[in-house]
Structure formats: C-alpha cells, structure tokens
Amino acid sequence: MKTYQADEKGYYGEFGGAYIPEMLYPNTEELRQNYIRIMQDPSFKKEFDQLLKDYVGRPTPLYFADRLSRKYNTKIYLKREDLCHTGAHKVNNTIGQILMAKKLGKNRIIAETGAGQHGVATATVCALMGIECIVYMGEIDIARQAPNVARMKMLGAEVRPALSGSRTLKDATNEAIRDWINNPVDTHYIIGSVVGPHPYPDMVARFQSVISEEIKWQLKEKEGRENPDYVVACVGGGSNAAGAFYHYLDIPEVGIIAVEAAGKGIDSGESAATSALGKVGIIHGSKTLLMQTHDGQITEPYSISAGLDYPGVGPMHANLFASGRGEFISITDDDAMKAGLLLSKMEGIIPAIESSHALAILEHRKFKPEDVVVINLSGRGDKDLNNYIEYFNL
C-alpha cells in the first residue's frame, strides 16, 4: 500500500532524511535507534497519556461550530488545541520529548523558538521536570515577542539571543543545532515542529498524532463516523497539521488541506508560502521544500503570524504537496486577520493568528452542505492581542 508516513530512513517520498554534519551523527543516531522503542514502551505511554490528561488538559474538545456552519452552509468542527495548557498544540510535543530526554538520560534541554510559543512550551515542561532549559531565539524576535520572553524567564529558562544571519527563527534553529554539536552527550534538543533531520519529523508527528486520534473517536460520537470529508490545518513547519492529518494520511476519502501564510501576497516578496515559492533543497538537515535564492541561499520569509514565519516545511508536507495528496492554499495577512475577528465575534473564540489562517479557508473554498470539515484550531489568541489591537485599531 502506498503510504504518506515516513519510511525507515525518514523519507516521505523523496523528502526527509538526515543531511547533517558528522558532528551531529551520534546525537541523532542515538535518538533514531531508540525513539520508536521508547515510545512503544508501556511505561512511557502511560506517563505520556497521564500528563496529556492531567497537565495539558486532553482530550481537547471537538466543537461543532453551529453559527459558523450556518454562515458557510457546511458542517464545521473545531479541534480545540487552543485549550491546551500554554495555549497551543506545541505542548503535546514538548511533553513527549521531555519524557524521551529523561529515558535517554539527558539532563540539559535546548530548543529554538520564533514567536516564543515552542520556547514557552519547552520551558514549561522543563520546569515540570526540573531540568535545565536553554532557548535560542533570534535577536529580532526577542525584541518583538517580549511577553513570551518574560514567560520563559519566569519558568526558569535561559533565553539566548541568536545573533547570526537574519537573527530570526531559522538562525535560532542554527544556534540550537550548534549548541547540540558542542554538547553531544548530556543534551537533548527539543525541536518545535516536524522539521530537522530524521528522526525528528516522524517523532514530532507521532507525538502530535494524538490530535487526529482524538478527532476519530470524537467524530464517531458526534457524526457516527470516524472520517471527516476534510481536515484543515495551518502549516508553519507543520506540526499541528501533521498531528491533525496523521491518522488520515492513508485514507484517501479524507481530503487534506494545508494552509500556508501568503503574507502580503505570494508575489509581494513578503510571504511564507513555501509550497508556492519554494524549491527542493536542504534546510536544517532535511531535504524538503524551502524558500531560497537561485543560488541556494535560504531566504527570510514574512508573515504577520510569527509561528508561520519559517522558510521551509516539514518533509511530510513537501511530499503531500508534491504527490498531490494534500491541497495547499495560501492565505494573506489580511484574510487571516478577518477570519480571526469573525471567529471571535461568531463563536466567542479568539484564535491565534496562525490558526486564523486555517479558518480563512472558509472564505476561500466552497464546501458542500453535507461535508464534515474539521479545522484544527492550533492555538489561542492571547499572545497575539497586540497584533489584533494594532491591526484593527481596537
């Protein structure tokens, strides 16, 4: 059977693999040899499930959005990842990886962050476990995401500025990788999305797969069937999307819709729509689609949403795009902001701007009245209030 999951070497079709310097080989190899065994270990599973339940607040509701459904004349369900502790799906992965790090005997955690969501989720689980935590963050992002920097500090993490290159997320990721090269024995790198060298994309997707695992039984309860007609998610690196798609990847009846950030428009030069603008190449150890110059230098993306502001996508998504399995749509800043405001007014839910991109699909694509459309609401809008205030002059 054709599968859209990773193969043993971490390839999704032609995408993925581990294009890493030899200095990183022992680190990723240790993880590669152990991650599946550890994840399948009953004691690991028990602890993971328990924490997801008691600490994160899972299962998150699958909410039938009645007013929104009537407006768009289709059946819309929202998967409420915004109700997770720390305000987004990111924590599903950091809980999994901190337990993984413990099993591997690591006592120092590093992470990268752009907007600070993954940094906060990592700092949170490190506080929970009493493990040292260092978060790399671009100097420019530190300046524009002050509240999340403060959160990480309150949680006991050290925030280290990435001063190289363009001083944003991709450079923070470079710095975290360099730290890992310099500290190969005691340190675990908690990467924040389904990106990076094998086994990260597959491991993070597995931790996030709890999202679609829950959708299945929740939809069965509500609609009498496990499979929606469509599942929709925004894609930065692609972890919330990977989690929402995971158990549907190989079920062709379920339409998969990935929403990328068009920024100020695909042709504006200020965009993060990787599938539209990217070419195959290597970024952060993975062969995937990425935005780059003719010459192979990685370029700086733009989106109003910091979480979608990454010049690549995870290899799973590159393959969904290249194979045609996924439908890829890009949404501008303006359309996302409108969709965010609309959800707030119609359903009383203020979404993260990342998630607003996924919601904007409803204005951009027709669904049939009998279609069941699940939209992954990856995070809440608290962190984005300043952006909303400025944008709408609230």
Binding site: Y19, P21, M23, N174, R178, N182, I282, H284, D295
Partner: protein
C-alpha cells in the same frame, strides 16, 4: 588517477592546509589569497563557498560567510574567479561548502565545473557519507574529485572504518566535539583521540581541523596526523589585515 591531493599526501613532512571564505574580506580577493598562500608554502587550500546557514561553523566563519554573501559572492562568481587559477597555482585546491548551493547548481554540473577549473576535491559537511555513497560517489569519481569526510571524537570505530573505505584522499579529523573556531590548546583527551585514530592504521591519512590557531596547536595536532587545517584564525587575520601580511601569518605557524 594522479590527483594533486594524493601526490601531496605522499610527500614527506607535515601538511599545512588553510581555509578561507571566498568573497571575504572583499569579493575580488579570492585569487590573490590563493596565490599568496601558495607562495608562502601552504600545502593545500580549502576555498569556502559561503552559505546563509552554516550549521557546523562558529561565529568567525559565520560572520565571514554573511559578509561574503553581502559582498555578492555566488557559486557562479566563484567559478568565474577561479577559471584561470591553474595558470598560476599548482597546489591542491578543495572547495568546502554546504550541500544546498551545490544541489541548486546541480551536483553533476558542479562537479564537472570543478574538474574543468582544476579543483581537486570537495568537503561538504552536511552530505553524510551514506548518502554520498549511495547517490553521488559515481558522479564525483567520474570527474576525478576526491570527497573528504569528517570524523569526530564521537564517531564509532565501525563508522570510521566505513568512512575510510569510501574515502580516497584524506580524512578530516575534527579535533573535538564542537563547531569551528579557535581553541586555546589541546588537552590530554584530544591527544589520546589523535593517537587512537593513528593506531587504527587507516588507509587514508588524517588531517586535523577545528581549533588550530598557532604553531603550538599545529604541532600538537600533527604529532600523529599528516597535517592540520587552519580556518577561523586565518579568517581573523584577514579581518584585521585584509590580504596584506599573509606571509607573516604563515610564518607564525611554521
């Protein structure tokens, strides 16, 4: 095939290899730097093709790469600068760069161009030996290029043996678990690692890199290895002096 690298490795004595980032400090410095290095007795030159995201490099080489790209360096410009290099330079030349720019140029086209110019080998830190062996070895060999792999203190014996079997030039022995950048010196642990590798009696000679900055570290590194590579320390020199005084810098090493 008589590659210049193999011939050089067969000479007596310890080899000094110098790395610099092409396009730094000024876009047009490449040829001048190469000529000066040869004139001053350097044995092998590594020409760095700058990349926006050099994962394995410390601050010094990162900054030189960023500056080189700002100066306008591209793969095509570098090849153009090097097109007549063999009229004036005869020591081995190696291009060191990350894989993505090569992939975008086309691996076959890139290798072909290297052969035309007279480049002898490549060092591509993020092209792992397994992928090279399965997908690219034939292409490199078709154009007579030597690909150089890195090993570190953490590399397992089994993997070192595999790397040795795939290599046909030298092995780049990374001095410690770290990114590039000068260190203050090598301790017992590193000396023991150098000795351990020497005792493996590999078919390829080893050249030590990362953390070599002066005559003392050069000597320590070459006690059991065939040679050593200086990168960041030379970039720092270029940063302060431009292309002047390369002779004085080399004199301080040996």
């Amino acid at each position: 095939m008589g590659n210049r690298i193999n011939k050089k490795l067969n000479e007596d004595g310890k080899l000094l290899s110098i790395y610099f980032t092409a396009g730094y400090p000024k876009l047009g410095d490449t040829v001048e730097i190469i000529q000066q290095l040869e004139k001053n007795g350097v044995d092998i030159i590594e020409i760095g093709l700058p990349f926006s995201d050099p994962l394995a490099d410390g601050p010094t080489i990162q900054q030189s790469s960023t500056a080189a790209l700002k100066n306008g360096m591209t793969t095509e410009i570098l090849f153009d600068q090097l097109k007549d290099i063999r009229k004036s330079v005869s020591i081995p030349l190696i291009i060191m760069g990350y894989f993505n720019p090569m992939l975008q140029y086309g691996v076959d086209a890139f290798c072909k161009k290297c052969q035309e110019i007279g480049v002898d080998g490549l060092i591509i830190p993020d092209l792992p030996v397994d992928v090279y062996h399965e997908e690219y070895q034939e292409t490199f060999e078709k154009y007579g290029l030597i690909n150089v792999f890195l090993i570190t203190p953490q590399t397992s014996e089994k993997r070192i043996r595999f790397i040795d079997s795939v290599s046909n030039g030298f092995i780049y022995m990374v001095s410690s678990a770290s990114v590039t950048g000068a260190q203050s010196g090598f301790g017992d642990e590193q000396q023991a690692y150098f000795q351990r590798i020497a005792d493996m009696k590999l078919k390829n000679p080893q050249i030590v890199g990362f953390g070599i900055s002066n005559s003392e570290t050069f000597e320590q590194a070459t006690k059991s290895a065939k040679g050593a590579i200086i990168g960041s320390a030379f970039i720092k020199h270029l940063n302060g002096h431009g292309v002047d005084g390369i002779d004085k810098f080399i004199e301080t090493i040996r």
